[in-house]
């Protein structure tokens, strides 16, 4: 059913999921040690994701702290029946990052950003060559996603990547890249549906 199940690393994913669930359960009971462990597990990944969205290290750190504070406060709202802990955490992080990206204050600050040479400004969307993370299992999973993205059309891939890593809405993509909104929606939908087929093994 899910691509996770048929993948060779499915077993490890289940282990990770079980570990995440356990940590979230402990955090819900206000265990700071569990929060520390969860932070150690995901801080680099989430920080990289936030940087790709916000492009600023300080902003990303600010949101990262906010994300984990949210996890601390709302871990009891995590519902294991509706997805994995990892999915919940990443979704929470992206939502926070994009909320900050779209906030009025942030947009004002962004306009005032001056130089592309500023160390606090990041430009690439995501890592396309090297293993992005040290963990082998996570690297394997990243390779699978990267390979799947290479199998969909460039136009589809572009809207998905921009949306995901830059946090632009469909209408913003339409305006910025001069693509009709309906086309953006269609490419995004078709691309993601094809990714689903590829990752589930339907097109292998």
């Amino acid at each position: 059913m899910l691509f996770f199940i048929i993948s060779a690393i499915g077993r490890f994913l289940n282990q990770d999921n079980s570990r995440d669930k356990d940590l979230l359960r402990r955090i819900a009971r206000k265990d700071p040690v569990a929060l520390s462990l969860l932070y150690d597990q995901y801080n680099r990944l989430l920080f990289g994701l936030l940087i790709s969205i916000l492009k600023k290290k300080t902003e990303a750190e600010d949101i990262l702290q906010e994300v984990f504070s949210n996890i601390w406060e709302k871990a009891d709202q995590f519902d294991p029946d509706r997805g994995t802990g990892y999915t919940w955490i990443v979704s929470l992080t992206r939502n926070k990052g994009i909320d900050r990206l779209r906030s009025k204050v942030y947009k004002e600050q962004k306009k005032q950003s001056t130089s592309l040479d500023n160390d606090d400004v990041y430009h690439p969307l995501y890592s396309s060559e090297n293993n992005p993370l040290e963990d082998t299992i996570l690297s394997d999973r990243a390779d699978m996603v990267r390979n799947a993205l290479q199998q969909i059309s460039e136009k589809q891939r572009k809207v998905i990547e921009i949306s995901y890593f830059s946090g632009l809405s469909q209408s913003e993509i339409s305006e910025e890249y001069d693509i009709p909104l309906g086309t953006v929606k269609t490419r995004m939908r078709d691309g993601m549906m094809k990714l689903r087929d590829i990752l589930s093994g339907a097109e292998q």
Binding site: S36, R44, T87
Partner: protein, 265 residues
């Protein structure tokens, strides 16, 4: 659900998980999700999974150490504000304490019942020991008596006097083995009824119609032969008779009760 509706669901679903649709579209999607088919719900979960997996492509970037420090500072402060220690530790201690208490209770109950059983066993064993000691004492006494009786039988010169039951107890019989040299005698009686309360049998040596008491004895078990040692029977007479009468406990100076046996030398 029509293909068009399904396409709309897919389009909104993808936009929702990528956070790229408007707030109105989000509301529309949530409404659709509330009435979604099982396949659509599965699609939503798959899309969420794909979106979260894409995060793995992000650059590996390490945030400042201060982020974690501040985060944990906040978490511990929150814990202390709630009551001084982390719940998990509190719960762990509570569970350990509860487990220890239960263990202690169970152990105590176990030891209590074990102790009770031991005490019962000990009492039983003590009673058994007392019974055995009594048996040993009885056996030792019997052995002692038998030895004494045997010593009489081993004497070089003994007189044997047979006694027969009289009217009150015609089935009774007995004999006296008399060691005149040492002034001792062995009395054996059989088929004698058990002595009534406050009564005893008394053996008499009768010579020239003059009875001399040779001692008292009691028969408690009429079914078996009863042997008695007569300590002092210092008579040098070569004629006379032995008689047994039933007398008050302790004996009488003269025969007063029924005569049970009689035998002449």
């Amino acid at each position: 659900m029509s293909t068009q509706d399904n396409t709309l669901f897919e389009e909104l679903c993808v936009g929702f998980v990528l956070n790229s649709i408007t707030s109105e579209e989000e509301k529309e999607f949530k409404s659709l999700l509330n009435n979604a088919t099982q396949e659509q719900e599965q699609l939503y979960q798959d899309m969420q999974s794909i979106a979260s997996e894409m995060a793995l492509l992000a650059y590996d970037q390490k945030p400042s150490e201060s982020v974690k420090e501040q985060l944990l500072e906040m978490a511990w402060a929150s814990v202390h504000a709630r009551g001084g220690s982390a719940n998990v530790h509190y719960l762990s201690r509570y569970r350990i304490a509860a487990a220890a208490a239960v263990l202690f209770l169970v152990s105590s109950l176990g030891l209590f019942f074990f102790n009770q059983n031991l005490e019962t066993d000990l009492e039983t064993q003590k009673e058994l020991v007392v019974q055995k000691e009594n048996t040993i004492r009885i056996l030792e006494t019997e052995v002692e008596q038998k030895s004494e009786l045997l010593a009489i039988l081993e004497a070089r010169d003994v007189d044997l006097v047979l006694m027969d039951g009289l009217e009150v107890n015609p089935n009774g019989f007995g004999k006296v083995v008399w060691d005149k040299e040492n002034g001792q005698a062995l009395l054996q009686v059989a088929n004698m009824p058990a002595v009534p309360t406050a009564k005893e049998y008394q053996l008499w040596f009768v010579i020239n119609n003059q009875p001399f008491s040779a001692g008292v004895f009691a028969v408690n078990d009429p079914e078996k032969d009863n042997f008695f040692k007569i300590q002092e029977l210092n008579q040098s007479a070569s004629q006379g008779a032995f008689a047994i009468t039933l007398e008050p406990e302790g004996g009488s100076p003269q025969p007063t009760g029924d005569m049970y046996m009689l035998g002449a030398m």
